[in-house]
Symmetry: C2
Subunit: 631 residues, 2 copies
């Protein structure tokens, strides 16, 4: 699979863009005209700079408002094309992208357009250049790739071909099967972009909301599969217009883009009939069976506070590490490690980010293969020295500052507890609260990085994503999206914060690192758990009584149940699958907290309750100096 | 005009919201249920808090999915309503907003809905409460206020009335004339919101893009006029869902909201037939005749650099202030004051913001009336002591940290130059560059504050606004909107920056204050000006040669003209009215610069050239440490 990306897709000036694109691993780059025009160097300089980066220029674009122009505009348009051909020859690229005409003075007619393209093909051919025609979804006369293809067919010129763009085809819901009848040699290049499904004006949607394949909701893999079945083996090139990407980190966006293409190629490679699309084989997406452990790096009073909180939650210290200052606290299938060692990654993480849940271990079907896939998708492998005889755990760096360990039970990795740890007997003085397993892990990040996290998880692991929902914090909107697998073993809620006065924004401004802001544990009986927690001295987050009046009216609850909810500060929700109960801790430090949930068939995450628990959680931040909203 | 705003319109927790709403001058507040539910106090507490602020609760909302429910849902819906009535009585409000049903299980039928409302009216009436019905633009069966009105009419109950909302009516382009036949006593309240014209899903548009009347593109004044003609004299209440407002400064947003209502009332008051809408009369919007002067506060080397630059631009010092260190530099009708006085507002501004064009004087038809109007619209008047015999200039504070002086020629204000200033004779050693007048003033602000500036200028002065256009900076998108009057005497380009790595974002992060980032001067002959500037030692901003090849091809320019443009680094644009020429200085300090333009009928601002001049301008910032985009 030959990979390319348009310079317009990422932020920066042309040299910065090219450096980021080359570093991310792309083979080629589309030179977007404005990036070239703003650059203070000749076309030949740009061409050299591109080739010095080991990149090929896949095309020069866009050439607008070409076909169907009445005279005298028509003649001028051809002159204009000749000037672009001059530049292309100096740049060192042979393909010009012509997008369908949007000019109000342009004339319709397939034959007229075909004749124009035939003549353009003649002119291009004399210079050894080619022209590809792309149907813009909002083109004046041509807005469907099937019509563009008919024009290319009638132009009947070897130097004239078709350019397909997933956004233009999929945004108009054009049958992608129509691609399968196009001869591969007439497809000059394929552009790819995804987008979230929001019903709006196509041009506005395209200009502001495009994102990388796999980050949105369009069936880009289906589209690519249809392309591959034609036998097409040319470039797949990303052309993404996105306000966040324009203002984002060029390197990070380029890495995302490359990952999205590799992941797409991998999906398509597995399809029957897609033989022409060659991608380095990699293991399938890893299936996550459970959360192996969550490890905190902490020190001093913060470690003491964390351990005290874990105890009130009913956790007991069961084992301790042979050679490091790491203790395992356990309850049900939940394992929480508290690492107070000053050395290693944990110590370094603590030094930079303060106390945090810096590492999450995922138990997968095959850790070695999971690591292999992650690395094939450009995730960064991680290892650190272990004492002789101790288990080396495969790991990758997460998107933020955290670690993701990959464990399985096929190798001795599953036996880490037996080898590296020794049992302790300690009377914690608390009773179990009946917590069974990790329900979900909530990670917070700046909103503009949320798509990076989504792509990271869903490309490496067998998991899907839910639509983005808006969570209302009193100080602003937080976007929330869930990555989850079918079994429910993996459930990660991602919260993209737009300003630092929100609870989420405050947390990342102050600590960030792994981004783990809260952990939700599952119980089979929230009321029994609440009672046990109370006896352990746990103080639940206080919820406004007004909430309970509404919940009772809204769901038609038995007043007795409402009373129990209110007494224990338990939040309630319901969907078509069942009921949901949530109990929160106050916040610790800069906004970390625990949640306890009981699911009676319910599949969501209590988004409707978020505004109430956030308002309550923020009260605990105030004294520590959360910036006031007013003023 | 009785003013109200829904708590959902601004950021913060309930007490913060109420404080901001009361401080801004509103008479009433809609309690949005979630704000109430998240608040840890009883309904009576909330009611008291509202009344302690001198506010009235105009309504409680929203009550969803009421009408047309099949049993057993119907009975539960009535129970739910009774619970809300309980809360309303404790809150101390008599109006409940019911929005049209969106539930998939709801049944249609005007008579069924009318019967439901009749019964609800009976129940409300027993408690002395009222219910208003609002057609959501995306309601399942009812999405048009005319249908909602038919249901209210058939419900035929004194406690059931209609709620009109400008967004729901105008977003669906429903004929507003249909409002004029509704009896005023059946309109229980009127909600107002504006929005930019973007074609998208109505719910998505409503939830994210609403803004204050006058900030968007909907004909809210026409809508309000129709309401006023019914004789309606109740509350006009803002209900604005906007992501920026949710994350913004509550006080500033509330002030904007109040200003938008007063301005709206003033517009409507002037219409024949709108007698019922009483608003304190204020002078009409001030007509701006010219830019009187622009005043810089500067000191030391920065002042010297500014003066040296003004001289290379062909300005000459013509007069100096009698009692302050203020010199007037003049060319054509352009007056630039350089204030190096340590005292007064200029000195204070310099101390806080560094060198900047901190004040702009607008020459209006009647300065006293302009000031009166500005104050009526809650602008803050400004004055500082002047020496005996000197002219006191009326002024208001701008939205940022700057000042706006209001001058006219009816009073002695026009004679300021004769009274406060004395002529100097100084050989500047430079020749005039033929600059005639101020073409436009460019102000930069954080994007989320741009609407505040638009409303400030357009409500006080006779001016319109253009649609927002996206300006592409290599480091991100900058939104640009122009406030201008018909004569062209007032032209202000507002640039809303979203991140500080853009040229605009860098400027406001480092200096802000008045936000004046560049001044554009007008010439009748850009080539003559360019030649004179060269002779004066002015160095124009270097533009990439690539730009000129494209401009020649794009506009079909005579190669000789292109060569002259290229030689002088002049940018070119054209619209249906004529040609445009632009010449830039490099940036000074943190990103301030000058522009020189020649308009040959052209009406725009060269937005298509922005990407090229921004890339060039940023090169001059680099050495001073603009954060790198990459990394």
């Amino acid at each position: 699979m030959k990979t390319s990306i348009a310079t317009v897709s990422i932020s920066g000036e042309l040299p910065d863009k090219l450096a980021a694109i080359a570093a991310a691993g792309f083979d080629g780059v589309e030179i977007f005209e404005n990036d070239f025009l703003a650059f203070d160097g000749s076309p030949a300089d740009v061409g050299k700079m591109v080739r010095d980066h080991g990149l090929e220029i896949t095309l020069f674009q866009p050439f607008r408002d070409f076909e169907g122009m009445p005279e005298p505009h028509r003649a001028r348009t051809f002159d204009r094309a000749e000037r672009k051909f001059d530049i292309m020859q100096q740049l060192g690229t042979d393909l010009l992208l012509v997008c369908s005409n949007i000019s109000p003075i342009s004339l319709g007619g397939v034959d007229r357009a075909a004749a124009d393209f035939h003549e353009l093909g003649e002119r291009a051919g004399k210079r050894g250049l080619k022209v590809g025609y792309e149907a813009l979804a909002w083109g004046r006369h041509i807005s469907d790739h099937r019509d563009a293809w008919e024009i290319v067919r009638r132009a009947d010129h070897p130097n004239i071909g078709l350019i397909l763009d997933s956004f233009h085809t999929l945004s108009r819901k054009i049958d992608i099967n129509s691609i399968r009848s196009i001869p591969k040699e007439k497809i000059f290049i394929v552009q790819l972009a995804d987008a979230p499904l929001i019903d709006m004006d196509l041009l506005y949607w395209s200009r502001h909301f495009r994102n990388m394949p796999g980050e949105g909701d369009l069936p880009v893999a289906e589209f690519t599969r249809a392309i591959a079945e034609t036998g097409y083996d040319g470039y797949f090139s990303l052309e993404i217009f996105n306000d966040q990407f324009r203002g984002g980190n060029a390197n990070a966006i380029a890495v995302d883009g490359y990952r999205s293409l590799i992941y797409l190629g991998d999906q398509v490679r597995r399809s029957p009939g897609a033989g022409s699309l060659t991608v380095a084989p990699m293991p399938e997406r890893a299936e996550i069976k459970e959360i192996g452990f969550i490890e905190f790096a902490a020190a001093d009073e913060e470690a003491a506070e964390l351990i005290a909180t874990l105890k009130t939650l009913g956790f007991r210290k069961t084992t301790t590490h042979r050679s490091k200052q790491v203790d395992l606290y356990r309850q049900g299938d939940i394992r929480v490690l508290v690492n107070t060692d000053e050395g290693g990654f944990a110590g370094a993480s603590y030094a930079v980010h303060g106390s945090s849940a810096y590492a999450v271990a995922l138990v997968v079907d095959d850790a070695k293969r999971a690591l292999e896939r992650a690395v094939a998708l450009n995730a960064e492998p991680f290892s650190q020295p272990v004492a002789p005889g101790e288990v080396e755990m495969p790991a990758i760096r997460g998107v933020g500052g955290g670690l993701v360990y990959l464990l399985d039970d096929k190798t001795d990795l599953g036996r880490i507890w037996d080898i590296d740890f020794v049992p302790v007997t300690e009377d914690s003085g608390v009773e179990s609260a009946g917590l069974r397993r990790v329900d979900h892990i909530a990670q917070t990040m700046p909103y503009e990085e949320m798509l990076t996290w989504v792509l990271f998880y869903t490309s490496i692991f067998e998991a899907g994503k839910t639509p983005i929902v808006d969570i209302i914090d009193p100080a602003g909107v937080v976007r929330s999206q869930v990555v989850e697998n079918v079994s429910g073993a993996l459930r990660i809620t991602l919260n993209g914060a737009e300003n630092r006065r929100t609870l989420a924004g405050h947390f990342i401004a102050e600590t960030f690192g792994s981004g783990v802001q809260h952990l939700a544990f599952d119980t089979d009986d929230i009321f029994a758990t609440a009672a046990a927690l109370r006896r352990n001295g746990f103080r639940a987050l206080h919820i406004s009584p007004n909430y309970y009046d509404d919940v009772e009216a809204r769901f038609g609850l038995d007043p007795e149940l409402t009373e129990r909810l209110r007494a224990e500060n338990i939040l309630y929700d319901r969907d078509e699958h069942g009921e949901f109960f949530q109990l929160y801790s106050p916040t610790y430090g800069e906004g970390f907290f625990f949640e306890i949930v009981e699911r009676r068939g319910y599949r969501g995450y209590g988004a409707a309750n978020a505004i109430f628990r956030i308002a309550a959680l923020k009260k605990h931040l105030r004294p520590e100096g959360l910036p006031k909203i007013i003023g």
